[in-house]
């Protein structure tokens, strides 16, 4: 059998893309999930705060996932669990997906369209190269979260957290509620990498100090971790000698960044963007490979699941359009990141596929106060987005109406941070 759309990953992006593709007329949709249940990382996010944008209510991660899982079930979309994708091959009109699982063995699944929704992984202590020993008791925050919330086991009692990413902040509170003592969250940058609400609700409310411009310079303990040396860093992020301080601990959690999981994407030959570490995508999240779409954290790391779902709807729509032959492939605009902006998604826009507006997602490179993000085509200012405060941790969500874009025949849309006029 030949599928219309196969979704690689049953997390929030994959679920929403599957639902949208099916609703838009794709008949045979299949979700492939490597874990033992649908829902992806939401399953271990038992805290609330999900769904404020999508459902106007505060849900836990599993509750948010359940809404979409229910839709998948209602629509009769089949899914395979414990199923690993080994390879994706582009055979022209059809894609061949090589997968394995225990029940069915080795399968080659053929499909007209593919949506890549593999999510992301955590940057590790190895990648950031913290000097010192390599004892047990050093976990990425997400791994600790899985042990505690999914397996029901604690990972330690005296905790230091390096990095103020959202998972680290959430875990500071979770460990505290479980009776552990979180001594500090250390952040290399002079600002937090987590959402403001998480700083307030997870650190401030529990009197957990957030030490900015601080890093770990040594991991002590040969067997189980016994402590860390922390130190202040200067503007160039170099350690300031004399500021070292020893903190005894039995656990170190790392929340130092997320990396889109694009091994399948790269091996398949999809063109990548080294700013996002994800595929270069269009307004409906089409990639450079016809019939292959990508959305969610595999494209760029989001801070709210609501925006993942929003983006997945676009990919689901795109895949459905593609199989009907309705997807326009002429690129009208490309986008680029100017001063103060780290990246922009989508990197391309085909105007014929745009309904009312295009939402451009981007991140600023540093904290800005009382500035605006301006969008230019050539030297023509086409739109402005005002924010009281622009934070690297909070994705900017910049909507530009179709009418505005339609005034220009083609070109490059450049986003820059500028003084408010």
């Amino acid at each position: 059998m030949i599928y219309d759309v196969v979704i690689l990953g049953g997390g929030p992006a994959g679920l929403a893309a599957a639902v949208e593709a099916k609703n838009d007329g794709a008949e045979n949709v299949l979700i492939l999930e490597r874990d033992r249940e649908l829902g992806g990382i939401l399953n271990q996010c038992i805290h609330n705060g999900f769904g404020l944008h999508t459902f106007n209510e505060e849900l836990t991660g599993p509750e948010y996932a359940e809404r979409y899982i229910q839709k998948v079930k209602d629509l009769g979309i089949p899914y395979m669990l414990n199923t690993m994708v080994l390879d994706l091959h582009d055979n022209g009109n059809l894609k061949a997906i090589h997968v394995i699982n225990e029940e069915n063995g080795y399968m080659i699944i053929e499909t007209k369209a593919v949506v890549l929704t593999m999510g992301c992984r955590e940057r590790t202590s190895g990648a950031i190269g913290i000097p010192g020993y390599r004892p047990s008791g050093v976990f990425t925050a997400g791994t600790a979260q899985r042990f505690i919330n999914m397996e029901g086991y604690m990972v330690g009692k005296e905790v230091v957290i390096l990095g103020s990413g959202d998972i680290g902040l959430i875990m500071a509170r979770r460990m505290t509620l479980e009776g552990a003592h979180v001594q500090a969250v250390c952040e290399l940058m002079p600002y937090s990498n987590g959402l403001v609400r998480n700083i307030v609700q997870c650190l401030d409310d529990y009197d957990i100090p957030l030490k900015l411009s601080t890093t770990i310079t040594f991991i002590h303990g040969k067997d189980r971790i016994e402590g860390v040396t922390i130190a202040k860093v200067d503007e160039k992020l170099k350690v300031i000698p004399g500021t070292e301080e020893y903190i005894p601990c039995d656990t170190l959690l790392l929340s130092v960044g997320l990396i889109p999981e694009n091994e399948i994407t790269r091996n398949a030959g999809v063109v990548m963007d080294n700013r996002t570490n994800g595929a270069i995508v269009g307004e409906l999240r089409q990639t450079s490979m016809p019939g292959v779409f990508a959305c969610g954290n595999v494209v760029h790391v989001h801070d709210l699941v609501d925006f993942v779902s929003e983006e997945a709807v676009l990919a689901g729509k795109g895949a459905a359009k593609y199989i009907k032959g309705d997807l326009d492939t002429n690129v009208t605009f490309t986008t680029t990141n100017g001063d103060g902006i780290g990246y922009v998604v989508p990197q391309q826009v085909s105007m014929k596929n745009v309904e009312e507006k295009v939402t451009f997602y981007m991140r600023v490179r540093q904290v800005f106060k009382d500035k605006v993000v301006n969008a230019y085509i050539g030297d023509q200012l086409i739109a402005t987005k005002k924010e009281k405060k622009l934070l690297p941790a909070e994705m900017v969500n910049f909507k530009i109406a179709k009418d505005v874009l339609a005034q220009y025949p083609a070109g490059e849309i450049r986003f820059v941070v500028e003084e408010a006029k």
């Binding site: 394995i100 042990f147 397996e151 790269r266």
Partner: protein, 489 residues
């Protein structure tokens, strides 16, 4: 009473144990750690050296090239990843070229086959990513890369399959020499053996001092390393050495047997337990590796670590230019295999043969061959390296091979269960990682470690929080159940 007790289950002790099973002997292999090959064997450059460095009058020169040429058969029998990738010692100026020519001549003396001195253009044709600043290189086609811990694990497994008694968690604290035998005291009981082979790595001098007057000292020299993601694995094809100096072989850049890239090591005298990395040392390695490979992608580093060498210092205690110490010691019946640093890994097949045939055999006049000796281990099925047809077949035969646990390295549950239940099987998260690479990839066990803990607990029938990361009792991963689970119970 054992015929022979071997102290230390690193590559030297394990390999000698296996070699001894060619004869009908009662052998016990002791180690203080909870896994074989857990110290020096675990963290080194993983290179099978061609053998042009050491002078021919030294044991290092005698055994290196011979050991190297035995690797194809050894790794085939033991099913260990090994690639004869070749090595280049690159020179940046005429003085270094002079050294290259000296090495070439020395290599000829040591019997290293295929050595060639290459011009700059020839080097760049082989290695486009090597610095433009070089002027030539010594090419040794027989140099190779191996997975040292997998080699050690399979050597130990094969030794056990051929009748060796492996006793882990047996830390030797005292040895008494009696008229007919040695009495070895450990933290897990006393062991008696007629003869002792001391292959205790860094601690071989301490072990020897339990029975005899010290005549050598071992100096711990630490080396830091970086491992890069497989995406950077094809940056070089050969092992790239800088021109050696008095300080040693210098910072090398090498592919690994599994397709990663490795750079290191530096050399710093430290106390015996110090395997910590430091910023200064790691920066030093990066700086020096760049001299030969200017395009090293440091953002693709997935791990840094340090390992120790055990450099012998004999008599005067001043020179670090020591040789292997492989001999029956002044204490009769007590054999030292000490100071066993680079090229120890490469030399071991030849050294083990020498120890067994030249030292041990004369001690047993009535020694009989073991006709049931089987040099091969049961095949280690590596799912990721199989063809599509083989993958289809293995999942059909055992569905556990259809369940991927380590996403980065595509390691299946079937492989993890296998390495737990083989002889000298895995008991810890790290020992699973050593044997089948679960957790060795770019996410460094972030996704798979909870699953590996779960599989270990299930297969060994113990609670999750009894599973250790590494050392017995001291490297716990989990600190008991959560409050919510306890309350429910």
């Amino acid at each position: 009473m054992y015929d022979i007790a071997i102290i230390g289950a690193g590559i030297a002790g394990s390999y000698i144990a296996r070699e001894l099973t060619r004869y009908k002997l009662d052998i016990v292999l002791l180690d203080g750690e909870n896994d074989v090959g857990n110290q020096i064997t675990m963290a080194n450059s993983a290179i099978v050296h061609a053998g042009f460095d050491a002078p021919s009058y030294k044991l290092k020169g005698k055994f290196n090239a011979v050991g190297n040429l035995m690797y194809d058969k050894v790794c085939e029998d033991l099913d260990v990843p090994f690639k004869r990738c070749g090595s280049l010692v690159v020179a940046h100026d005429e003085y270094e070229m002079a050294t290259i020519h000296e090495l070439y001549q020395n290599g000829l003396k040591n019997g290293v086959p295929g050595l060639r001195v290459l011009f700059k253009e020839e080097v760049h044709a082989m290695e486009p990513n090597i610095s433009e600043d070089i002027c030539g290189a010594l090419y040794a086609p027989t140099a190779g890369i191996v997975s040292p811990f997998e080699l050690c694990v399979h050597v130990a497994e094969n030794a056990v399959d051929n009748g060796v008694t492996l006793k882990l968690n047996h830390m030797v604290s005292d040895i008494k020499k009696h008229d007919t035998h040695f009495e070895i005291t450990t933290n897990s009981g006393t062991i008696e053996a007629k003869y002792v082979i001391n292959a205790a790595g860094l601690f071989a001098d301490d072990i020897y001092e339990m029975v005899g007057d010290p005549y050598f000292k071992l100096l711990a020299r630490k080396g830091n390393y970086f491992i890069f993601d497989k995406e950077a694995g094809s940056l070089v094809n050969n092992v790239i050495f800088p021109c050696p100096s008095k300080k040693g072989k210098g910072i090398l850049v090498a592919p690994t047997a599994h397709g990663n890239l490795l750079i290191g090591p530096d050399a710093e005298p430290v106390y015996k337990g110090d395997i910590s990395t430091t910023t200064e040392r790691l920066d030093y390695i990066k700086e020096n590796a760049l001299k030969n490979c200017p395009s090293l992608p440091f953002n693709k580093i997935i791990r840094s670590y340090a390992g120790l060498r055990n450099t012998p210092v004999k008599d005067t205690f001043t020179t670090t230019d020591g040789d292997f110490i492989i001999e029956e010691s002044p204490v009769k019946g007590f054999i030292n295999v000490a100071g066993y640093e680079s090229p120890g890994l490469t030399s071991i097949p030849a050294v083990a043969h020498f120890v067994v045939e030249e030292i041990v055999k004369p001690m047993f006049p009535a020694i009989e061959e073991n006709h049931s000796y089987n040099p091969k281990v049961r095949k280690h099925l590596r799912f990721d390296e199989m063809t599509a047809e083989e993958k289809v077949a293995i999942i059909k035969e055992n569905p556990k091979y259809g369940k991927v646990i380590c996403r980065c390295e595509t390691i299946t549950e079937g492989e993890i269960i296998d390495v737990i239940h083989r002889s000298a099987g895995a008991r810890t998260v790290k020992s699973v990682k050593k044997r089948c690479r679960a957790g060795m990839g770019r996410c460094q066990g972030g996704f798979c470690s909870p699953r590996v803990v779960e599989i270990l607990a299930r297969e060994l029938n113990v609670p999750l929080d009894e599973i250790m990361y590494d050392q017995q009792d001291s490297t716990f991963i989990l600190s008991g159940q959560t409050k919510s689970v306890k309350e429910e119970a």
